[in-house]
Structures are given as C-alpha cells and as structure tokens.
Amino acid sequence: MVTPVLPKLVGQRVKRREDPRLIQGRGTYVDDIKIAGMQHLAFKRSDVAHGRIRAIDTRAAEAMEGVEAVFTGAQIAELLAPMPIGTSFPSPPHRALAVDVVRYGGEPVAVVVARDRYVARDAADAIAIDYEILPAVVDPELAMTGKPAILHPEFENNVALPPLPNGTGVSRDGKTVDDSAIDKAFAEAEVVISQRMVNHRVVPNTMEPRGVVAHYEPGKESMTIWSSTQAPHILKTMIAAMTGLGQHQVRAIAPEVGGGFGAKINIYGEDYVAAAISKRLGIPVKWVEDRSEAFVATTHGRDLIAYVDLAAKRDGRVLGLKMRLIADVGAYNMLLTAAIPTLTMMMASATYDIPAIRATLTEVFTNKTPTDAYRGAGRPEATYFVERAMDMLARELKMDPADVRRKNFIRPDKFPFTTQTGAVYDSGNYEAALDRALEAANWKQLKGARDAARAEGRLVGLGLSMYVEVCGFGPSSGMATGGWEHAQVTVERDGRITAVTGVSPHGQGNETTFAQMLADQFGVPLEHITIHHGDTAVVKQGIGTFGSRSQAVGGTALHLAGARVKAKMARFAAELLEAHEEDLVFESGTIFVRGAPAAAKTFAEVAAYAYVPVPLPEGLEPGLSEEAFFEPSNMTYPFGCHIAMLEIDRETGEPRLLKFVAVDDAGNLINPLIVEGQIHGGLAQGIGQALIEETVYDQSGQLLTGSFLDYALPRATDFPRFELHNTVTPTPLNPFGAKGIGEAGTLGSTPAVVCAAVDALSELGVKHIDMMLRPEKLWRIIGTPPAPAHGGRA
C-alpha cells in the first residue's frame, strides 16, 4: 500500500480558510456595501408597548434637507401585504410597519429615506406620533386571563395556540387524548416531584446587528437584496412574494454575516420595507440596525414557563412525566415563532426511557418583542426542565445525580428509539457519555473537594446535566421551507474545484469543512477547492443554516454532488487510461489504475479532456458539473453530559463558575478544531443565560435591559477554561456519520450551572431557583433561607 502524498483531511484540525480576510478587516458585511446613489433608511419606532396611533406628523421630517421621502405604516401597507410566516399555526395579521395599533415597544411605525444615516436618524426623531396609550400585558399567565389587555381581538384571551397535547395516549393530530397511562404512572408513584420553572427570555445579540441593502433596477426589472441573514433562499422567496416579483427576478445575497444564532432566519419587516421602497423609488437603499434598536427590533429567544411533575419509584425509576408549557411568544408570530416551543414538547423524554409522558403547550401573546429561534430553539428549554426535575428527584431520594440518570437512560440496544412524544432518536450511548464525563471531571474527587470547601463554610456546589439535541433539520414533511439541501460541484477545466452549497454559514466555517470533505473525495489539495455560498444567483437552490443542519444535510448534499462528478470524471479518465472506471484511484492530484500509479493521469489532464472531449466517450455529455438535492430521512440526535462546579460568595451572593467539563457526542467530526469552537460558543450562551443574561420588562411593557449597559452579555472574565471531551456514536442517517454540533453547547450547560447553584445552597434547604442567578437573588436566599414548609433541611 502506497502512502498517499496528500493526507486525509476529514477529521483533522484544519485552520479555517475564512480567516485571512476576517483577521485583516477585509470581509464584506452588509454595512460595508456601497452603491452609487444609495440612500439610507431610519425607522421611527413605537415608544409605547401598546397603543392606538391617533396621528402621525411627518412634516418636520419631510422638510429636512437631505430627506428624500417619509413613509408611514399606512403608506407602506399600500406596497406590502401582511407579512407571511413559515408555519401553519394560526397567526394574526402583522404589518411590516404598524398601522393603527402598536403592540410592542420598538415596533416600527414610519420610515425615513435620506442622504446619510445621520440625517435619516434626525428625521426619524422629528416624526411626532400621538398615541392613545392602551394597557399593556407582559406576564403570559396574566395575559391568558384576557386582562388587562387584548392584543389581537381574534385571539381570545391572548391565546395564540390553545393547549396542544403531545405524548402517551395522544393521537398524532392531538385531537384524541387517553389519560389512562399517565394517570396510572402517577397513581403508582412513590415519589412525585412538582415544580414550576421559568426558562427566561434572552436577547440573541449577534455582534453584527441586522442590516439590508435593497437595489431594484427598473431597467432590468430585477431586485438584488443583501441582508445579514442565515437563509438567503428563504429571503429570496419571501421578497419575491411580497414585492410582486417572480423568484427569477430576485437575487438575495448573504454577504459576510456577523453571527445569527437563530435570530437571522426570520425575514423581517425592515427587509420588506427596504425592498418595497427601493422598488417604488427606483434607487438602492440601505438600513443598518443600531444596537439599541436591535434589543427591541430583533426577535428574542426562550421565554417558557413549565409546570413539571415527575412520578418515580423510590429506587429512582421514573414512571411518568407531565409538562405543562406556557410560551410567551411576544406580540406577533414571526417566521418560526409558533413552532419553536413544539420542539420542547417533542424533547420531553430527554435521554430517558420514560414510559408515560404528557406534554401540553399553550402559546400566548404579550406586549413584548416577538420570540423566534435562538440557539437550541426549544431543545434547551426541554433539557432544562427535565434535567432540573431529575436533579430534584435525586435530591429528594438522596441519590447521586448521576445514579438517578443512569437508572433511566434509554439503553444503547434500543435505538432507533421512538419516544412517547414521537421523536425517533437515531443512535445513542448515554451511559458512555456520562461515564466519560464523570471520569474526565473526576466526579468522586470533585465531590470530596466540594465537601471540604463546605466544611470551611464556603457555598460550593456541583451540577450535572445530560442532554440530547435535535440536529440536521429536515425532512420536508416537518418544514414549510422544505427540509432538503442542495449542492453543486464543478471540476473546472484546470482541475480546480468550485462547489456551491445551499447552506449559508456565518461563522460555522463550512468553507473549510466542506473543502476538507471534497479534498478527500477527489484526492486533491484543499487549496484547489473553493466553496461558494450565500448568493442565490450562484447557489441555485438552498434552504439555509439553522437547526445544526449544515453538515448532516448540506454536507451530505455536497458529498452526493461530488460523487456524481467523480463518477463522470472516472469515465473520462477510464477512456484516457484505457481502463474500467471501477478500477481507478483518485489520489494526490492524480487518477490511476489501482496498482499502477506510474501511469497516472493528472487530475487537470482529465478535467481538460472532459471539456474538449475528443473523442467523446459513448453516452457521455461534455463537462464536469453535477448537482444534488439531499432529503434526509430524519433528524439526528447528538447528546452529551455537562458538569459544572460553582461557588457562591456568602457575603455578596455572587456566583462564580469554578470548573466546567463537557462531553459531547456529535458522531464523527469533520474538523475537531471547529467543533470545539462551536461547543465553546454554545456553552458561553447557555452558561450566560444561567448566570448573567436576563431580559426585563416593566409592567408598562418597557424593556429595561435595552442596551449593553443593562443587558449583561458575557465577557471573557465570566468563564473558566472549558474542559472538552467527546465520545463518538455515529448516525446511520448520512454517509459521514456526523450529527451536528452548532447548538448542543446551549443544552446541557444551563441546567448544569443551575443544578450546581442549587447544590451550593442545599444546606439552606433550597430545592430550586429560577434563573438567572442574580447575586442579589442568591444573597437574599443566603440571608433568609426558604421556610422549612417549602424546603426543610436534609
């Protein structure tokens, strides 16, 4: 066996090919785009959370020098129909700019078109709006009583989605419900854990705020729209539909995108308004969001209340789980808003073989910024609720938190495993991940260290959490956008490879990982491959980057397209080498008959022949360019175990994370370096939610944490060094056995930290604390422990 000159790259820590431009300030983000004649937009937003617009006075704004035009909501409504959503859930009409009624602080009401952003902002500030202020409602459980405000008259008591059941005894359509199994589980229980928990609202805060440049060219009757989006093809589809253009007339481009985290899947009112104004005025326009706008104008994440009841035997065996969910979706349904909390229901079984589950979900409108996907989107919430309940069960039974979990795992021989809520887990070995984490963290020793610290009077706690994630979103049966992905691979005349993918990376590094795959597939150097993405004129079809689907779905599509080109190239090579194509080897930039590398043709020679095919092999067309659509058969379910050690300062209540160990199993890894980066980022967001991030509204619906002055985005000093380990359980659902890792970090980390905080305070009788772990909240608990009636010392 000859050692290949080019090493296999899949599985290697390859440096990113995206970086040279980004570390030199040469990337092009939306705000870096300039077009001659371009005007700037600024939006006038509602200062009130709920109000009826009595009058809008735009005269002062229109009179300003440099102002091209001002449009009110009513004027934009003549250009744009209500905005479409991406789910089949019932939804109230939602205008790109509010008409008559505003329903959250920050809702856009009017827009200015002006010479530059300073003038546009001045003019927007000069627009005077007279509101009849209506009562606002910010608490979803209060909103469900229909008081003190009704947001949308057609949704009684503000209920966006009436209780939707899922689980044991519930028919697939949710229409018939049989309670016998879940009732039996609770009747046979020896111990029941009941707790109301809140998974609070967070602000995604991509470092690059949103932005859009719309350029309608009247002479060409075509629209080019650059947007800081995760899904340019969805953008193209929606912009075409909303502006009355055909999809062939719209080109959407996601240039360099500065983070998404789910908040840039949605197509926003500002995108439509920019497109409509550009088309109406026939000029290019740009809008870039300020950070203080982003806090109210870009969707938020999470905001779920759960009433959890866990039924178990005293040996720790779980018999049944009830989870009643109330989702605060804010003022409107956005693209995926309504569907996100259904994922929480779907994942109620977590890593456990729970024989009876009943989940119900109610979605409620409130006078807040709408929610939508945020990293993990529904799965972190499920993980949090179930893992906190398991932890409470362990404490109640005085069992080690690892042992309770071990007792209930779905056994490795049971995969594929269908949960009571209908999820089909592809593969898993949860006990292996748990054992790996216990070993890596040195659990026994850690417990000893905790106990020693406690003996000194310190408040130190340990928290452990399992998780199972859903990745590789598809197939199309569950996604209104389609659940496939598309790719095209071209071997150019010089033997270099141009590949396009329908996923739209914004930090995930697919220009590197996808090139690694193709380099191995074709046996060519990485440098000979370019990956294009994000431009619908170059990438013919696609869905986008979200739901940790890039590798499992996009990567597979690319691999399939590559395989097609390779097969065709092999036929050309076979002709040149006078051999059978099945005997050929692609290696180190050459193609040769197995065992005869000396008689190799170079990759470039074969490529050149394919484009000037004299003679043309029988049955072949010239050229080397093939595409593929990949429709996954199901989603993938990576998993892991996270362990946190945390200390709470007895004097100040300030929590400090001392240690964090993560074991993640995402199946096979294409690039471990990039995977580590993805995990780190997920951990930071999950831990951030538990420790310092919180979105606070006052009773009148004003967002009080509306800037980085008050919203605590994690800093480098907030984290210890994360210790990462992994296990490998490949998925059978794609040729790489890769599951996905983009969001996983946010799942186990949040409950692990909260479990650690509860453990630290357990000597005070604490059984549960809602996030976030504000020092003041912990300080009060330390000062006045909960009354024994609610807790009681062990």
Partner: protein, 148 residues
Amino acid sequence: MDISGTYLFNAPPRQVWSLLMDTTAIARCVPGCRELRPVGPDRYETELSVAVAAISGDFKGTIELADKLPPQSYKLIVSGTGRPGFVRGTATITLAPHESGTAVQVAASANAGGLIARVGQRLLEGVARMMMDRFYQCLASQLDSGQG
C-alpha cells in the same frame, strides 16, 4: 415609578400656594425648563431639556393643574414626548401648616417609554427625584429671598 417627598417652606400655606401657582416661578425652578405657555385654563405647554445617563434631549409637553383645593391640595399632570421617548406622570401635592410654615407633600407616579426607559431606566428614578428636590428647593429659596 413612584416617588414622594416632603418639603418645608417658611411661609403660611396661602403664600406657598400662590408661589406654587406662579408660572414664572415654576418655569424658573424646573430644571431645563425655558417657559410655560398657557394654552387653556390651568393648562400649559412647555419645553424641557433632560439628560439621563447617555440619553439627552428635548421634550415637548403639557402641564395641567387639576382638582385645585386652595390652599390645601391640587393635582399636577405632566406629559412630554421627545427624541428620547416619552414621560408621563401625575403628582398629588398637599399643603399643610407645619410649625410656623408649610409642609408640602408630593406623591408622584410616573412612567417613561422609549430610549430613555430602555437605556436610562436605572437612573431615571434618581434623576426624577433630583429634579423634584431641586424644584422645591429652588421655590423655597425664592420665598426666603423674598422673590416669591
């Protein structure tokens, strides 16, 4: 946001009442206020410059006096909107004899919206309290210096 305070004046209630109804004195003592323009009975328009944390700007607003019971009590209804957002508030002001002078008790509730609330909320209450203190101290000093 609820704030309250009590301010002592060295004059009998009737004299303090007239001072509190004197729009010139009020305009002079409201921090950032330029003038009060009557637009109806007990109703005035005004412009106010306010700075809270990183947010500053001009508010256009109205001030209304209601439920007047001279020289015992009245209600002050304030609303203003401007570039940084809006503020609305109602204050109940009660005058009572106190030793040789008058105790003026103020109980106000106010809310704010927009940028000033989002970015400045933490400091808003402090700023409102400071402005109220300065207003009444200013009025009291006018009385002391005989200007009232």
